[in-house]
């Protein structure tokens, strides 16, 4: 029996991936249609947990879209060749993730048909409104940056374009963190730590996504990543994971210092059931400690370990965001300190929230959009990182 090599039949796999991606996207669009026609009553959201699972997906993708550009910035802004070879792929991933995230965000609106109102009626005091500009600006700046990278005639512009993208994405992730930092009413938010936390989270999550896609592309093309480059990238991921841990610990420890925040911290860190479990099990153990062991333990750190570490970092990302967004809302507002309170509107009670299948489908649809853009993008244009074997490794 004649066995065909993967290279001979890979086109079939490509179409299979496309079909799967399309299916997921269609599922997301169908869910959005149902949410729009039936109302959010078919979601698990309510008047206490007003932002649900779609926001977890959307914010994960938008934060990662900014962070994945870190790879490009290190190349263009700081002139590192290893990273510069990866800048086009980073740019493509950024555009894809941003498109997926924004799709989810917009389709989760109560009135997605009115999204144009957000462009025609602009409230300058709203950080949401700032983000409308920041997100569309990121599309434009990254598209221009990709042009300078992929068209030799535009090559001279790649450095200034890289600087522009670098600045823009830092401001953008600051804006995303500020969505929560400006919420003075809620105990989970209203912290100046959030913008820097979001920036460092974006570095870790973006790099993890980059490493997964890079692994898939190298495997698909039956290529081997230079071990020195592999080592450099995995160490960088490790540093980012440690940095996120540090800022998350700082956020919770400072909260614990304020007695008015202790009840909230007790809820998130120990008595909050699913939230406490996701924080410790999902974020700390699976999403931080395990990846660090896979990256830094002697004898580990090979390609498959780094792949697994990257996947786990994303598991941690979802866990942390779920705890932050849903847990932060589920904890009751403290309207009248010094009193226990009951009402027909859930005052004084921890809100329950179970995401519905429509929310899962919408969130997955956003991931599907990003997946399709990347899958088609790397097929029709040359986004595969090309490492020059003659190029010396800087800093080694």
């Amino acid at each position: 029996m004649h066995h065909k090599t993967f290279a001979q039949i890979e086109i079939r796999y490509f179409y299979l991936l496309l079909a799967l991606g399309l299916l997921v996207v269609l599922g997301g669009l169908a869910a959005a249609h149902l949410l729009e026609s039936h109302g959010h009553i078919i979601s698990g959201m309510n008047n206490q947990v007003v932002w649900g699972l779609p926001h977890v997906f959307a914010i994960f993708m938008i934060v990662s879209a900014s962070g994945v550009l870190n790879v490009a910035s290190v190349g263009s802004v700081f002139g590192r060749h290893v990273y510069k070879a990866r800048a086009p792929l980073a740019g493509l991933l950024s555009l894809a993730l941003l498109a997926g995230g924004l799709m989810v965000l917009m389709l989760d609106l109560g009135r997605p048909d009115r999204v144009i109102v957000a462009a025609t009626h602009y409230n300058p005091t709203s950080v949401f409104a700032w983000n409308v500009l920041l997100y569309s600006g990121l599309f434009a700046t990254v598209a221009f940056y990709l042009w300078t990278l992929m068209d030799r005639a535009m090559g001279a512009w790649s450095k200034p374009a890289g600087f522009l993208v670098f600045t823009w994405r830092i401001v953008l992730t600051t804006g995303t963190g500020l969505i929560f930092a400006f919420l003075v009413a809620r105990q989970a938010y209203a912290s100046a730590l959030l913008p820097p936390l979001f920036i460092i989270m974006s570095f870790a999550w973006g790099l993890a996504i980059f490493l997964i896609v890079q692994f898939a592309m190298f495997s698909w093309n039956e290529l081997q990543l230079n071990p020195a480059i592999q080592k450099r990238l995995k160490n960088l991921l490790g540093i980012f994971v440690i940095s996120v841990l540090y800022l998350v610990a700082t956020y919770h420890l400072t909260n614990l210092y304020y007695s008015r925040q202790v009840a909230f911290e007790r809820f998130i860190l120990s008595q909050g059931g699913l939230f406490a479990a996701l924080f410790w099990g999902g974020y700390v153990v699976l999403g931080s400690v395990a990846p660090l062991l896979l990256i830094f333990l002697p004898g580990l750190g090979q390609a498959r370990c780094v792949l697994l570490a990257s996947v786990l970092v994303l598991v941690g990302a979802f866990s942390l965001l779920y705890v932050f967004i849903i847990g932060g809302q589920a904890f009751p507002l403290l309207i009248i300190p010094g009193y226990t309170v009951h009402s027909s509107f859930g005052d004084g009670q921890v809100a329950s929230y179970v995401p519905s299948v429509f929310e899962w489908a919408l969130g997955a649809g956003g991931i599907g959009v990003a997946f399709l853009i990347v899958t088609v993008g790397v097929r029709i244009l040359n986004f595969l990182p090309h490492d020059d074997p003659r190029q010396p490794m800087e800093g080694n």
Binding site: A118, T125, V341
Partner: protein
């Protein structure tokens, strides 16, 4: 025909009796300032700031006349699922150290510096010149950021298609809504439905009026009793104050 006439006559008499009773029960509450009724087409102006003073010592536990009146006036479903709109709700409080119990209504506090207005990306949440905070139902995109920003959990999201349009206020699926201070009544010189209902019950727990008028009943009362504003630490200057907490 005679039946119709009888019905109208009875309706007129009963409304007249209710109005007379309310006026006599709560002078100063109902006749808060009829001179403030604005002619149609005239914009609200900042010479007026509408506000409320809620006396928790007069609010009876278990009484929800204000809530029922609000639901009826605005066509809200009188249900209390977590997804149902509640523009006004009763809070049952117990002081943690003394065990003292308090009952009080809770609604939009109509802040002078409303966070919901600040965060709204489209300007759908807005504050009128007379201090009433509203949502423009044609401009709201349903992002729910205002609900995240409100310290009082005063806003509701319309989770389902609206089938009952009997209320005086427009409502729509996928948009955010909250207490309008019965702006449609106030502009006619009539007190909000909750204020009227509370007075009708004889509790007089909600005093409504113009905070900018030193001669108004609410201003005089605020200057003579100790009152607090909720989450005063946030410096939002709510238009609603409370006595007895």
């Amino acid at each position: 025909m005679s039946c119709g006439h009888d019905h109208q006559r009875r309706q007129f008499l009963s409304r007249g009796a209710a109005l007379t009773a309310a006026v006599s029960i709560a002078p100063g509450l109902m006749l808060y300032d009829f001179a403030r009724a604005r002619p149609p087409g005239e914009a609200a102006n900042s010479a007026v700031r509408w506000g409320m003073l809620i006396d928790t010592t007069q609010c009876e536990s278990g009484c929800d006349a204000c809530v029922s009146a609000c639901n009826k006036e605005n066509g809200l479903p009188a249900r209390t699922l977590p997804t149902d709109s509640q523009w006004i709700r009763k809070l049952e409080l117990q002081q943690e150290d003394t065990g003292r119990k308090i009952s009080m209504p809770m609604m939009c506090q109509h802040c002078a510096e409303p966070p919901c207005v600040e965060v709204c990306p489209t300007g759908a949440s807005f504050k009128r010149a007379d201090g009433i905070v509203l949502v423009d139902k044609h401009r709201c995109i349903g992002c729910r950021y205002c609900m995240m920003a409100c310290p009082y959990k005063a806003r509701s999201f319309v989770h389902e298609p609206v089938t009952d349009h009997s209320g005086a206020t427009p409502r729509g699926q996928g948009t955010v809504e909250s207490c309008t201070m019965c702006v449609h009544r106030v502009d006619r010189g009539v007190a909000p439905a909750c204020v009227e209902a509370c007075a009708r019950e004889g509790h007089q727990a909600i005093l409504f009026g113009n905070l900018n008028d030193p001669k108004s009943a609410i201003s005089k009362r605020i200057h003579s009793v100790v009152s607090v504003k909720l989450r005063a630490d946030l410096n939002l200057d709510p238009g609603v104050s409370f006595v007895g907490i």
